[in-house]
Amino acid sequence: MSRSAARYAAIGGAGLLVLAAPFLAPAFVTQFTFLWLMIVFALTWDLMGGQLGYNSFGNILFFGIGAYACAVFQRDSGLGYYEALALGAALGGVLAAAAAAFLGLGILGLRGHYFAIGTLGLGIAAGEIAGGWDYVGAGSGMTVPLFPGALELRSLFFYFTLAALALATFLTLRWLYGTRFGLALNAVRDDEDKAEAMGLYTARLKTAAWSLSAFFLGISGALAGNLIGFIDPRDVAFAGATYGVWMVLMAILGGKGTLWGPVIGAAVFHITQEIFWTYLLGWQRVALGLLIVAIVVFFPQGILGTLREKFPGRFGSKAEVQ
């Protein structure tokens, strides 16, 4: 079998597995659905943290904006369930992207640790604002409309919509990293002053990258809000201590600055976390904490980064050509 045939076979097999998974293991559909969400988290975070070198601790903000924007639209639009959800999700994505563009004007001027600290406050502030704003239910949160169908159908619906979102995010980023826009992101990461001195439009680049990251996160927030069914300002929408931290961890675990790293990291993280819940109940957070420490100590480059270092030839890195 030629290489490209093997490749298509692998893609086809993976595709079938994704389609068949909820039927093969119906008990785990919700877990699989959250896995897709985690993949979106890790991929969008890595666009900023890994490719652009801007470690954002505030990306959860865009998730929350998407969740609220969609829920408000569903509440007030008067449209049918699916139409309201589709348009609401799109609105969530656009509003999140707009928020990133606006905030980027100020915050993306910060470098390194200052940017990380600057973004840290975003999610916290947003949670407080949403918790005090009656229009979005204040501290008692928002409920989303009931799904118009059977419970099994609801699980399948969200499984496939989130799978589609994860796939769309992945393919968009794969395409993006293949263009010179991707190279420009890496150039800013490696030496922003040099990139500027070479005439690159670094401010626009950074804003575009953050907005794109926010767009997909906004949609994921809209879908996740409906999946969970209830939007709490601090525990769901702006859950910085869980989702907000996890997105960073998953990307680092899998390998920052790679396309597949965040996907692998999300899968490993999510599965490990579920195992901890099942077998170490009561201690799952402790185990998770230890795992995080172990990752940072033993795999500072992440899974893919470590493999790439050990077997550079397998990842297309070429040595000197004679």
């Binding site: 263009t179 190279l183 890496n186 002053d193 005439g199 070429k318 000197e320």
Partner: protein, 247 residues
């Protein structure tokens, strides 16, 4: 030959230190100009002022007849005036060839050209320039894994890739293997002749700068001490005194 760069009375202070004190000099279109001076005489500061890395305190910098002293570094780069650094600056975690690709001139047009595929001509030019500096064999290595001298050559190739009108080179031969220096002089001259790039070069190696430059300016303590042809500068007693040591 018309003046491409005209520095008029530029003063730059860092706190109480006057790094450049009313420096005036000019570079003609198409020539190779040299800038020499003892350590700490303000050469690199002057370069940074010219390319807009920091604001100046007094004076004016005319490039193509327009005052660029209030423009930012990226805006000046887009007008075709670029510099290289004494401590090289390259994109270390990217392969050498990608360093070249992202230095193509059309990236200075905006964000959208980045989504266009780089043309075949641009790819060929990247390869040719890497061959020109002798790094073609290293094209797939991470730029950060190159030696200091090779990074210096890569930075020079990247600068040429961006098709500048004028290039400011800060000590291009520092850290380069002495046996390669003659080759580098030859390449700088060829870049000047074949690509029509006006060069303005800071250099400590006297043999190199005397060989390379059409005209030389000597700075000392932030002030212009002398300027003229290499021979005039070499024989100027003030230069000998300040730079080469009194006899």
């Amino acid at each position: 030959m018309s003046l491409l760069l005209d520095v008029k009375g530029v003063t730059k202070r860092f706190g109480g230190v006057v790094a450049n004190d009313a420096v005036s000099l000019s570079v003609r279109e198409g020539e190779i100009a040299g800038l020499i001076g003892p350590n700490g005489s303000g050469k690199t500061t002057l370069f940074s002022s010219i390319v807009g890395a920091h604001p100046i305190d007094a004076g004016a910098i005319l490039y193509e007849g327009r005052d660029i002293s209030s423009l930012r570094i990226s805006e000046i780069a887009r007008r075709g005036l670029t510099r290289t650094y004494q401590q090289t600056r390259i994109y270390g975690q990217m392969p050498v060839i990608d360093n070249m690709r992202i230095s193509a001139p059309d990236v200075k047009e905006g964000i959208l050209p980045l989504f266009r595929r780089a043309g075949r001509a641009s790819e060929a030019r990247a390869r040719d320039l890497l061959s020109f500096v002798g790094l073609y064999e290293k094209r797939d290595l991470l730029a950060g894994s190159l030696s200091f001298g090779q990074q210096k050559l890569l930075e020079f190739a990247m600068a040429l890739m961006s098709e500048p009108k004028m290039l400011l080179l800060d000590e291009p031969t520092a850290g380069i293997n002495p046996t390669l220096i003659n080759g580098l002089i030859d390449r700088l001259k060829r870049a000047n002749k074949e690509f029509g790039v006006t060069l303005f070069v800071i250099e400590h190696n006297m043999r190199v700068i005397m060989n390379l430059a059409d005209r030389i300016t000597c700075l000392a303590h932030g002030q212009v001490l002398a300027s003229g042809t290499p021979d005039e500068v070499r024989e100027d007693p003030r230069v000998l005194d300040a730079y080469l040591g009194a006899q």
